[in-house]
C-alpha cells in the first residue's frame, strides 16, 4: 500500500460566535488521497467543504481555528508549520484557485507584474528565466497574445481569461497539490467546459494531486476519480466516484444525485395547457423589441446609446405555457425580462399583453396591468425587504390590489404559504431569518398574492443549492399547472429550462438564435450555438 499524499485525520475546525459558543464548521474529518489522484468534495452551502479544502493549505478563515486533528501533505504536518514555513508551503508545494477570480487579482497592477511577483516569491527564477516561465504558463493555460495580455489590468480581460490567469498563478511553483474552490461557478457553461479541460490536462502534466470543491456534481463527475460528500461539517461518505454514483450509501447522497438537473428531451411534460382558458391561446404576450442601454451622459444631456443589448427580439408567449429563455451572461435575457416586467424602459418596438400594448415603465401601466404581470427575482435575499416581516411582505399586494384588510390579508397569506409548502409561523419572521429556499418561496408567494396571469422568473434558482433548486422547480411546475399560469422563465441553465418549459428560446449577444418546442430544440438544435450550449452540459456524460 502506498502512503497517501494527503492524509487528514480527526480534523475539527470550529468558529466561536459572539455569544461565546463554538460552532463546528468541520467535524471529525478524515481523508486519504494518493499522489496524482483527483478528489472532488461536494456539498451544499454551509456543508464545510471550503473550510476542509482550505485546511489543506493550513488556512482557517478569521475567527476559525483548528481545534483537533492533523493535516499532512506527504511528510509535512501542515498545521504545525511556522508562519515562514507556511508561506513557502503555500504557492510552492500547494496552491489554491479560489472561486472569484476578480477578487483574487489585485486591481491596481497589470497581470504581468502580478505574475512576475509570484515567480520571484515562489521560485529561484529571475529575469529571462522568470519571463520564460510566465510565457510557458500563459501558453499552457491557453491565454492568447501573451505580450498584450500581460500589460492589461484584471478588469480589462474576460471572466474566463481571469480564471485562466489565476490558474496560471497557482501553477507558478509547480505545486504537488492544487486545491480548486468552485473555480468555474462564475463562468458561463461553454467557458466552464474549456477551463475544466485545461485543469485536467495540467494536473496530468504536473502529476499533481487535485482537490476540487464544488456544489455541482456534474463538474465533479467530469473532473474527479474519488469523491467525498459533505453535509453539516461531516464527511457523509467517500470513495470512488463510480461507486458512490451507482450505489450511494446515504439517503442524502441519493437525494443529491437525483437533484442534479439533467437535460432530458424525453422527460415528463411540464403542466399541460389548460384547455378551458377563455383567454386567447396564441400570442397572449408578444414582444418585438430592440433595446440599448445609455452610456452615462453629462449634467444636462443624455448619454449616447450603447451597443444594442437586444436586437429585434420577436417572441410570443401563449396563454398557459412556460416559455424558457436561455442564454449566457451578456445575452440580454435579463434585459428582456426587465422590459416585459417594466423595470427597464426605453425600448423601441412593441410589447403587448392580452392584446393591449404594455408601457415601458411599470409606473406608466394601469394598476390592473401591474397586478397581472408579476416577477420573481434572482437573488431571494435582495428581493425581500430586510426591515419587514414576512407577514408585511405578503400582505402588501393583497391590500394594494384587492383592498383586503390586515386580518383578511393575513388569512390569504396563510393559504399562500400552504401552496408553497411553508408553515404559517414563518409570517412573524424577517427575511434574514430564513434559508435561501424559504426566501425564494416567500418571493414566489408575494408574486402569487397579486393573482398574476403572467409570471416572470429571472434566474430564480441560480442562487440556490441543487437539492433546494430541485424542490423549488417542482413547486413552480405544480403551481404553474394548478393556476394555469403563463410563465416567462429565464435561466442560464439549459437543464433547468428543459425541466420547466413548453417552448425554449435561445438568446446570444442580444439576438434570438432559435425558438421551438422543448423536445424538438433539445433533440435537434438547428444552430451551432445551441449545440455548443448542449455540449457544455453534456461534458460530464463520458465520466462514468
Amino acid at each position: 500500500m502506498m502512503t497517501p499524499h494527503i492524509h487528514i485525520s480527526g480534523l475539527d475546525v470550529t468558529y466561536s460566535t459572539d455569544l461565546g459558543t463554538e460552532v463546528h464548521a468541520v467535524r471529525d474529518a478524515g481523508l486519504q488521497v494518493l499522489r496524482g489522484e483527483t478528489l472532488g468534495i461536494v456539498g451544499e452551502s454551509g456543508s464545510g467543504k471550503s473550510t476542509l479544502a482550505r485546511s489543506l493549505l493550513g488556512y482557517a478563515r478569521p475567527g476559525a481555528r483548528f481545534a483537533k486533528g492533523t493535516v499532512r501533505l506527504g511528510d509535512t504536518d501542515v498545521l504545525r508549520l511556522d508562519p515562514a514555513g507556511l508561506r513557502a508551503f503555500r504557492g510552492g508545494r500547494a496552491a489554491m484557485v479560489p472561486q472569484n477570480p476578480l477578487s483574487s487579482l489585485t486591481p491596481h497592477m497589470p497581470i504581468g507584474r502580478q505574475l512576475a511577483e509570484l515567480v520571484r516569491l515562489h521560485t529561484d527564477l529571475r529575469d529571462s528565466a522568470a519571463k520564460k516561465r510566465i510565457l510557458w504558463l500563459m501558453d499552457r493555460t491557453g491565454l492568447p497574445e501573451p505580450d498584450k495580455l500581460l500589460a492589461r489590468y484584471p478588469h480589462e480581460i474576460s471572466g474566463g481569461q481571469r480564471q485562466r490567469v489565476v490558474i496560471a498563478a497557482a501553477l507558478i511553483g509547480r505545486p504537488e497539490l492544487i486545491v480548486l474552490d468552485e473555480p468555474t461557478t462564475a463562468l458561463d457553461k461553454t467557458v466552464e467546459a474549456e477551463v475544466l479541460q485545461l485543469v485536467a490536462e495540467l494536473q496530468k502534466e504536473l502529476n499533481a494531486t487535485l482537490v476540487y470543491v464544488s456544489h455541482d456534481l456534474n463538474v465533479i463527475r467530469a473532473m474527479c476519480r474519488k469523491i467525498a460528500v459533505m453535509k453539516d461539517g461531516k464527511i457523509l461518505e467517500q470513495g470512488l466516484l463510480s461507486r458512490v454514483y451507482s450505489r450511494p450509501a446515504t439517503a442524502y447522497t441519493q437525494e443529491l444525485i437525483r437533484a442534479i438537473p439533467r437535460i432530458e428531451p424525453q422527460g415528463p411534460k411540464p403542466g399541460s395547457r389548460p384547455a378551458h382558458t377563455a383567454l386567447a391561446s396564441a400570442g397572449f404576450a408578444t414582444t418585438s423589441v430592440s433595446f440599448s442601454y445609455h452610456r452615462p451622459g453629462g449634467l444636462f444631456r443624455r448619454g449616447p446609446d450603447g451597443p444594442p443589448a437586444l436586437q429585434d427580439i420577436t417572441l410570443d408567449i401563449n396563454a398557459g405555457e412556460t416559455l424558457g429563455i436561455v442564454g449566457e451572461s451578456g445575452s440580454g435575457k435579463s434585459t428582456l425580462a426587465g422590459l416585459v416586467a417594466g423595470i427597464v424602459s426605453g425600448h423601441s418596438g412593441r410589447i403587448t399583453f392580452d392584446g393591449q400594448p404594455l408601457a415601458g415603465k411599470a409606473a406608466n401601466r394601469s394598476k390592473d396591468m401591474r397586478r397581472r404581470v408579476q416577477m420573481v427575482f434572482q437573488d431571494p435575499l435582495s428581493s425581500l425587504n430586510p426591515a419587514q416581516k414576512v407577514n408585511e411582505i405578503l400582505a402588501r399586494p393583497r391590500q394594494l390590489y384587492f383592498g383586503r384588510s390586515a386580518a383578511e390579508a393575513r388569512a390569504d397569506s396563510i393559504a399562500l404559504l400552504k401552496e408553497v409548502e411553508l408553515e404559517p409561523d414563518i409570517l412573524n419572521r424577517s427575511a434574514r431569518q430564513l434559508s435561501g429556499g424559504q426566501q425564494q418561496r416567500i418571493a414566489m408567494c408575494r408574486a402569487l398574492a397579486a393573482e398574476p396571469e403572467l409570471l416572470i422568473c429571472d434566474e430564480v434558482t441560480s442562487a440556490l443549492d441543487v437539492t433546494i433548486q430541485a424542490r423549488v422547480l417542482d413547486l413552480l411546475l405544480r403551481i404553474q399547472k394548478e393556476r394555469g399560469l403563463t410563465c416567462l422563465f429565464i435561466s442560464h441553465d439549459l437543464a433547468v429550462i428543459g425541466k420547466v418549459s413548453h417552448r425554449v428560446a435561445v438568446l446570444q449577444m442580444g439576438r434570438l438564435q432559435e425558438i421551438g418546442q422543448r423536445d424538438a430544440l433539445l433533440n435537434a438544435p438547428t444552430t451551432d450555438y445551441t449545440r455548443k450550449l448542449l455540449q457544455g452540459h453534456r461534458h460530464d456524460a463520458g465520466a462514468t
Partner: protein
C-alpha cells in the same frame, strides 16, 4: 486565539427570562465594559440635566458670598468670582448645550434623512444638486460656520438649535444617501416599483425602516460633536452668555485663576469630557452591535 480559548470555558449563555426580551445585538453590546460605562455616563448626564434645578443645593444665580471662596462644607466646590455656588452651577452647566444639541441634531437628522433618502433613491440631477449643496456647506470649517450663523441668528435657544441643524444636516445627508444608494439597488425596491408604490411609500416604508440603526447612531454621534462645538463657542464668548451656567463659559472664566484655583477649570472640564466620552463609548458599542460600520458614520 486567546478569546477562543476563553470562550471554551465560558458557561453556556442562559440569560434570565427578563433579559431574554432584550434584542440580541443589545445583549451583545452590554458585554463590552466600554459600552456599559458609556451608557451609565450618558444616563447620568441626562438625569442631571433634567433634575439639576431640583437637586442642586443652591440657585444658580443666587449671590451667596463676596467673591471667590475655596471649597467648604457649605459650598463643596466653593463659590465663583461673583459669589455663586459652584457645584450648583456645575450641575446645570450642561443643560443648555445638551438641549440645543439635541434639538438641533434631531432636526438635522430628520431633514438630512429626508434629503438623503430622496437624493439617493432618485439619483440623477436632483442627486447632483443636493450633493453639491452639501459640499458647499461642508467646505466651510464647522466652527467658523457656527460662529457666523450665531452672529446672524442670535444666541437664543431656538436660534442656536437652528444653527446646529444647519451645520449638521449636510453630513447626515451624505451618510443616509450613501446607504440609500446601496439599498435602492436591491430587488425589493424593484418589486415595490413594479407594484406601483408611491414615492413617499418607497422612501418611508420600504427604505427608511432599514436605516433606523444608522439614524440612531447619527443622532448620538453628532450630539456629542455638537455639545463640544457649543461649548467651544461659549468659551470663545460667542455662544451661551452670562448669567446662564455653561461648562464652556465656566472654563473660560476659570482661565484667570487657573494657577491659584485649578478646580474651577478642572470641574467643568470633567463635566464636558465625561458627557462626550460617554456618548462616544455608548455609540461605538451600539454601532458595532447593530452592524453600523465606522465608515458609515464618517461623512
Amino acid at each position: 486565539m486567546t478569546s477562543d480559548t476563553f470562550a471554551q470555558f465560558r458557561p453556556p449563555a442562559a440569560p434570565p427570562a427578563k433579559a431574554r426580551r432584550l434584542p440580541l445585538p443589545l445583549r451583545r453590546a452590554l458585554r463590552s465594559p466600554m459600552t456599559v460605562i458609556g451608557l451609565v455616563l450618558v444616563s447620568f448626564h441626562l438625569l442631571l440635566a433634567l433634575f439639576a434645578p431640583v437637586i442642586a443645593p443652591y440657585s444658580v444665580s443666587a449671590i451667596l458670598t463676596t467673591g471667590l471662596t475655596p471649597p467648604s462644607g457649605a459650598h463643596w466646590l466653593g463659590t465663583d468670582q461673583i459669589g455663586r455656588d459652584y457645584l450648583s452651577r456645575l450641575m446645570s452647566g450642561g443643560r443648555i448645550a445638551l438641549l440645543v444639541s439635541l434639538l438641533g441634531v434631531f432636526a438635522a437628522v430628520v431633514t438630512g434623512a429626508v434629503l438623503g433618502l430622496f437624493a439617493g433613491y432618485r439619483g440623477g440631477w436632483l442627486d447632483d444638486l443636493v450633493m453639491r449643496l452639501t459640499d458647499a456647506v461642508m467646505a466651510v470649517p464647522e466652527l467658523l460656520l457656527i460662529a457666523v450663523l450665531v452672529l446672524t441668528f442670535g444666541k437664543e435657544i431656538w436660534s442656536l438649535s437652528i444653527v446646529v441643524a444647519i451645520v449638521y444636516t449636510p453630513g447626515v445627508v451624505r451618510v443616509i444617501r450613501a446607504r440609500t444608494v446601496g439599498l435602492a439597488a436591491q430587488d425589493f425596491i424593484r418589486a415595490a416599483e413594479l407594484r406601483g408604490e408611491s414615492l413617499p411609500r418607497i422612501l418611508f416604508r420600504e427604505l427608511a425602516p432599514n436605516l433606523t440603526g444608522l439614524l440612531a447612531v447619527e443622532l448620538a454621534i453628532r450630539c456629542s460633536s455638537a455639545v463640544l462645538k457649543i461649548s467651544a463657542l461659549s468659551f470663545l464668548g460667542l455662544g451661551i452668555s452670562q448669567p446662564t451656567p455653561d461648562w464652556g463659559l465656566m472654563v473660560q472664566e476659570a482661565m484667570t485663576v487657573i494657577f491659584t484655583d485649578p478646580w474651577f477649570l478642572i470641574a467643568p472640564a470633567i463635566g464636558l469630557s465625561s458627557l462626550v466620552i460617554g456618548i462616544n463609548f455608548a455609540v461605538d458599542g451600539l454601532a458595532r452591535a447593530y452592524g453600523v460600520s465606522e465608515t458609515d458614520t464618517n461623512p
